[in-house]
């Protein structure tokens, strides 16, 4: 009897509403992504006619061939990979080390030094003073502007610290009784236990690094050798935006690639790593969010 209690009129209408809402939600989320992929595999001149939805109409790999020959894009891709790897490793190490220090109960300046970092979350100099500083430190027109400034982040550090606080103190104490120094405690005892939260933070930093474009524009606009994939994509996008009104011109030209399909192909190349890794790694993102919580 109790089972049937659920099937009241109200409940059924509610279920239908949920079904419609979720269906619309999924379609709106997924459609544009699939549409971009379809366009990227479509012949350029044919795509200008519009009307391509979930599947390419006139299949072609030429867009990708063109994209993979673009010099700037390749340099950008190399830099994007490099910055993602370097910044992720260095930032994870630095944040974990700081979190370790600040989570030691005995640490003499625990309270003051924690406050020092919490303040940085709320107060910052802003765009212009930061720009002036980086310029005087020689970080403009340099690859290192991607790695050095963001290395220690109070937000990531706090997530790590919260996790480390949750580990039993007796671990550290017994290791120290056995003569281990802090460095050994950090590398041999705390870090292995922190693997899940390390993975999460590493992924967050990696995604952030991969998706960044503004720093390339602000600090390395004049240094083409330090461009990034996202910034190159942005340049492609703004050129398409200006040309979209003159679609007629593209229609008449004999070219088989058009700005629209080129950009679609570049977009697909840029989001490829994220889409491919996403199914395997997504659970780490979610754990991280719940470990750190929004507290602090």
């Amino acid at each position: 009897m109790r089972k049937h209690k659920h099937y009241t009129a109200e409940s059924i209408i509610f279920d239908i509403f949920i079904a419609i809402f979720m269906l619309a939600f999924i379609i709106i989320t997924v459609y544009p992504v699939i549409n971009t992929i379809a366009i990227s595999f479509n012949d350029g001149t044919d795509a200008v006619r519009g009307g391509i939805h979930l599947w390419p109409r006139k299949f072609s790999l030429r867009n990708f061939k063109t994209v993979l020959k673009m010099e700037d894009l390749l340099v950008g891709a190399k830099n994007s990979v490099l910055r993602t790897v370097l910044a992720t490793l260095s930032s994870l190490f630095a944040c974990a080390l700081l979190a370790f220090v600040l989570s030691r109960k005995r640490f003499l300046f625990k309270r003051g030094f924690s406050l020092f970092w919490v303040i940085t979350m709320y107060v910052n100099g802003g765009m212009i003073p930061t720009f002036v500083l980086y310029k005087s430190l020689g970080l403009t027109n340099s690859f290192w502007v991607y790695v050095v400034p963001g290395m220690v982040s109070a937000w990531n550090m706090l997530v790590l610290r919260t996790y480390m606080h949750g580990l039993p103190d007796s671990l550290e104490e017994s290791a120290q009784l056995d003569g281990a120094g802090y460095w050994t405690v950090f590398t041999k005892i705390i870090s292995p236990l922190c693997k899940p939260v390390y993975a999460t933070i590493a992924l967050f930093v990696a995604v952030y690094q991969w998706n960044s474009w503004f720093d390339s524009m602000l600090y390395n606009r004049l240094a083409d050798e330090h461009t990034t994939l996202q910034y190159e994509l942005m340049k492609l996008l703004s050129s398409v935006m200006q040309q979209s009104t003159s679609a007629e011109a593209a229609k008449n030209s004999a070219a088989t690639v058009t700005p629209v399909t080129i950009r679609a192909a570049a977009t697909v190349v840029t989001m490829l790593p994220i889409i491919c890794l996403y199914p395997f790694l997504q659970r780490y993102f979610v754990t991280g969010l719940t470990i750190g919580g929004v507290k602090e």
């Binding site: 409940s11 939600f25 100099g125 212009i128 003073p129 998706n211 474009w213 719940t290």
Partner: protein, 319 residues
Amino acid sequence: MAKEKKNKNVDEIKDRKITWKEIKRQKALLIISFFMLVYGIVFYYLPLAGWLMAFQKYKPKLGIFGSKFVGLENFKFLFMNKSVAFWPVVRNTFFMGLLNLVTQTVMAVLFAILLNEIKANVIKKPIQTISYLPHFLSWIIVTGILHDALSNSGIVNELLLKFGLTDRVIDFFAHPEYFWGIVAFAHCWKETGWNAIIYLAAITAIDPCLYEAASIDGAGRLQKIKYITLPGIKPTFMILLLINIGNLLNAGFEVQYLLGNGLVKKVSDTIDIFVLKWGISQNDFSLGTAAGIFKSVISITLILIFNNIAKRNGDERLF
């Protein structure tokens, strides 16, 4: 039990005195913190010294120490001079931020509650996984996709024409009245699933007994949502609200910069874009810094005010 006792003992010696013995003991920690301190001062506190530029007629050649001080002249120019058009920019930033905050929160709460109503994990899990995929795409990609969808030959115009809702294509990016809505939609598209995660966690933490008791008393699903789920996620809602209100003015850059164009400039320019235009493009560092300071001061004031309100209401606070 013994373990717990030991933990307590360590807690008690929190305020230990600074002695040579202790310093020697935690030499490693102190060395690391020294380097971290230097790093923090250079990259987080030194830029604050740059605020001096706002009170100077800053010349890059002369530097911060050589430039002439002019008092509040830059601020006066910023607030009073009509040709600078600072107030419309503040208005844009504030209202776009507010619109984004409201729509994003409503969508996230709605999505979380509705998703929670789906009991079959086979359906629930894939929906959730798909829902936060856009969070990991860059704004470049998202705005590009959105631009395609809203373009003259895009899917939105196609559907509008098909269903007879419009008789000719709408050029969404040429009309200022659509811009704020487009920006809010972009945020919802990218972040709804992600923002919902935290609410879903909060819903999961609600004691199931409450729902059972309500069922026995004859409560329907909507009633249970109204009287159990919504009050249950209120603390989470409050914390997120506090964080987001503090960030209200910070949330106006990437989308507006990437989607804005000459035709909608009046409604799309935000404080950050203003700083970029005046500070970097026009090289007026002083004016750019002044605008940045204005933003920081308002942000911190907002955080403090709302933190206080929450404190008075006895809800969870930020710090």
